[in-house]
């Protein structure tokens, strides 16, 4: 990696000249801003970042970044980013994708990405709808939702991107809503700092085709009762008055009332590496449980590109490369 002088950056340093073209009111604006703020905080120059996206409203993001960008095709940003990272391991590689892009047409790459664990950051903008194509249901759309392709209501069970990432072995999983900009910036930085594939699931409101989809747990007046901040080493408490806590029950959490400011011992102190807690926290389904926000999982294992590089080094040490020799290998004979 080319070492880079640490300089002071501002969010605006990561802007492009192009004017964003999302609908006024779209939460994609907030995420764009957060990404630029996170990059400023990370402190690497814009040429050391590449943002790779698929197709969708969300996937237009690279055009508004002053970094390198690749707006690929629908569902394929993950493999493109994989190839890029293997080719240029010193880059900070970001994937921007939507619920349709990542989970519907791109589902297979999503599943396999986490098995590889290439060091990149996957940001999924989940608005539970197809925005760009004007309002069809997506794999995360709730059952019964009425929309253009389901005038009588969607009949499939929704996918759970976080659960899926966990099942497929993601080494870093975090979740947040675009309405929490500060926390979003912080999680983006943490995702960047994690070596391996980081998955950040972002609830993003589509103002036009699925407005208010997340109000139940993001609307200011009620959100503190309906989502819970997950932080490594911190107790799992929530509620406007921090009057509820989670304790380990029969294979899942139980919610208990607690005295604000006085967290009993049986309330779980979160451990982002504890597979049992991770499973329980990702299993929490709203409205039975509050929606978990924060880093849900963080464990370390070798990245794909490092493993591949070691094999190349091993091969070099075992068989020092000599192409002319290789060409002449096997039986040879002279013609005079």
């Amino acid at each position: 990696m080319s070492t880079t002088k640490q300089t002071e950056y501002k969010a605006d340093d990561f802007k492009s000249d192009a004017e964003p073209r999302w609908c006024p009111g779209c939460e994609d604006y907030a995420i764009l801003k957060a990404v630029q703020m996170a990059m400023a905080q990370i402190g690497r120059p814009k040429n050391e970042h590449a943002v790779v996206s698929g197709i969708g409203c969300s996937s237009r993001l690279p055009y508004y970044m002053g970094t390198y960008g690749f707006h690929t095709i629908h569902g394929r940003p993950i493999p493109v980013a994989t190839g890029l990272k293997i080719s240029n391991p010193e880059l900070a590689v970001w994937v921007v994708t939507g619920d349709g892009d990542a989970i519907s047409i791109g589902g297979n790459h999503f599943v396999h990405a986490f098995r590889r664990n290439v060091d990149m950051n996957i940001l999924l903008f989940d608005n539970r709808i197809y925005g760009l194509t004007k309002g069809q249901y997506s794999p995360t759309s709730q059952k019964g939702m009425i929309n253009k392709t389901a005038p009588y209501g969607t009949i499939e069970e929704p996918s759970d991107p976080v659960g899926l990432a966990l099942e497929c072995g993601a080494s870093f999983i975090a979740q947040i809503s675009a309405s929490y900009v500060k926390e979003l910036v912080d999680l983006l930085v943490q995702a960047y700092n994690h070596k391996g594939t980081s998955f950040l699931h972002i609830y993003q409101n589509c103002y036009i085709y699925n407005d208010n989809a997340f109000d139940d747990f993001t609307e200011r007046s009620i959100r503190d009762d309906n989502n819970i901040k997950i932080e490594h080493g911190k107790p799992l408490v929530f509620g406007k008055n921090l009057d509820k806590g989670l304790v380990v029950g029969y294979g899942k959490f139980d919610i208990v009332d607690i005295e604000p400011g006085n967290v009993p011992d049986n309330v779980v102190v979160y451990d982002e590496t504890d597979s049992v807690l991770i499973r329980m926290v990702t299993d929490m389904k709203f409205p039975e449980y509050p929606v978990p926000m924060g880093v849900l999982k963080k464990t370390l294992r070798a990245t794909f590109e490092d493993s591949l590089e070691s094999q190349i080094e091993l091969a070099k040490s075992k068989f020092p490369p000599d192409l002319q020799k290789l060409l002449s290998s096997g039986e040879t004979w002279e013609v005079k």
Binding site: T82, K85, H112
Partner: protein, 617 residues
Amino acid sequence: MGIHKEDILETVTVKFAGDSGDGIQLTGDQFGNTTAVVGNDFATFPDFPSEIRAPQGTTYGVSSYQIQFASKDIYTPGDTPDVLVCFNPAALKVNLSTVNKGGIIVVNEDEFTDKNLKKAGFDSNPLDLNDRTLADFRVHKIPITKLTVEALDDFDMGHKDKLRCKNFLALGIVAWLFSRPLEPIESFLKSKFSKKPMILEANVKALHTGFNICDTMEIFPVMYTVPPAKLEPGTYRNINGALATAYGLLAASEKIDLPIVYSGYPITPASEILHVLAALKQFNVYTIQTEDEIAAITMALGAAYGGSLGITGSSGPGLALKIEALNLAVMTELPLVVFDYMRSGISTGMPTKTEQGDLGMALFGRPSDSHVIVLAPSTAADCFWISIEAVRLATKYMTPVVVLSEGFLISSSEPWKIPNLKEIPKIKTSFRTNPKGYLPYKRNKETLARDWVRIGTKGLEHTIGGLEKTNETGDVTQDPDNHDLMTRLRAEKVQRVVNDIPDLEIIGDKNADLLLVGWGSTLGSMRAAIEAVNGAGKKVAMINIRYLNPLPRNLGNILRKFKKVGVVELNLGQLNTIIRSKFLIDTSFLGRVTGQPIYVSELTNFINRELESLKEH
């Protein structure tokens, strides 16, 4: 050594055939090796039964290996064998009809049991004295199994392991018949079984036994010699298309000084390249087995975007899945190399068989007006040079290159004069580094290529993608005239490659009336056919087109020089469509879609027919 009559032959075709499990391919390869060392020219055709391993003794489980070798230049593995070596009745059943009348058939008579004969579909035993099935041939029944087991009597190994040596006994027999030395085979065995001395000894013993019994038992009335061919001086080796392709990529990588990222999803027959490259990681080859073909091409594209040699390969069904991403590569003007090892038939078809069916797809098979460079190697060794050329053109013109290779070329082999790497020119790449005046879609005046930027370079930050771009700036736009312009520029860029590729050379009689036009692997058969008919005093010429898009500059002039043009393809007329459309010439056409290389005899028939029809007019 007994005294044997020696006959001198100019060219011979031998075919080994037996069960997939009989080691036929290995036997054939080793016969090729010893043939090479004697200095003959040769060409081989390994033919696998199908993608699945079949129960022993069945006709659909028959594997074969055909080799033609000669004291002169040859171009094909031969139409039909002079000598057939059969390991079981099924092998005889399947191949009998192809053996040249009067040819030699060597059979392992131990396998001609009632059970095996029934499995093979014989009503009676063709080896029986009064059976007429083999009346036209010189049949040699040898108890190969028994001889092998006996020869290995002393060896402390299982019966099954002993049986595994019988192909080397058979090889010994054929080596004797054609006066081949055993040393190259022994040295192969030594390296292969260096850690299993017992197996090594057993195989060497079997080999010698086979050779020796011919001396002692006087099985064959004659022993043949095929004198060395007059090849260009140099050091030679045997090479097949899979190795040649991979080595060519390594050479290109060395010459351009960039690592290879080769991502692929296994598919017959393309997997072979992935296998070879995966084992050559020391040459900075990053191989990735992906979850599917879409991931394979998009990863390679990501690597090309990053500044490496992004390469992917597949066969028909897999190529079909890569089309959408290939168009992204065309739109973003990135140097992606895509190998297509064409196999037989639509859909799953006949996966282990060969064909030239994907030309139309390579040229027209993408939504909208989409142009790529299309190359096709014509021999196993040519795969080496085409790999280098593909990398050179892709990076120089910033465009995807599709290489249409063939199933047949992958496995067939021929003697190859080992090139001196120093003599291969370097491939220039100049990544743009200067931010001044940089515009992502500004083009080189001569090539129309846009600049390649190693992602990460300071000051050149930009975004590309699949949406239509404004000329030069690369900004997204829906401007009508700009789209028309960009569509034409993309086409024109590929057309400009015509300035960078060699003119076609006419093979055969330049003053002939009839010109045959082919591409890819038919080169061999066509060459053999025109030599045959030119030898018979008839005038025919031919060209083999290695650059299929753009077509070489002198093609039109050549075509117009001849009274009649006959196009030959292993499909129903895909190149023919292009030639007619471009040059408005009323070509005639010979297409074979059998999954096999075309026979020289089919070509000579075609030539004779065309020459006749010319006379009539």
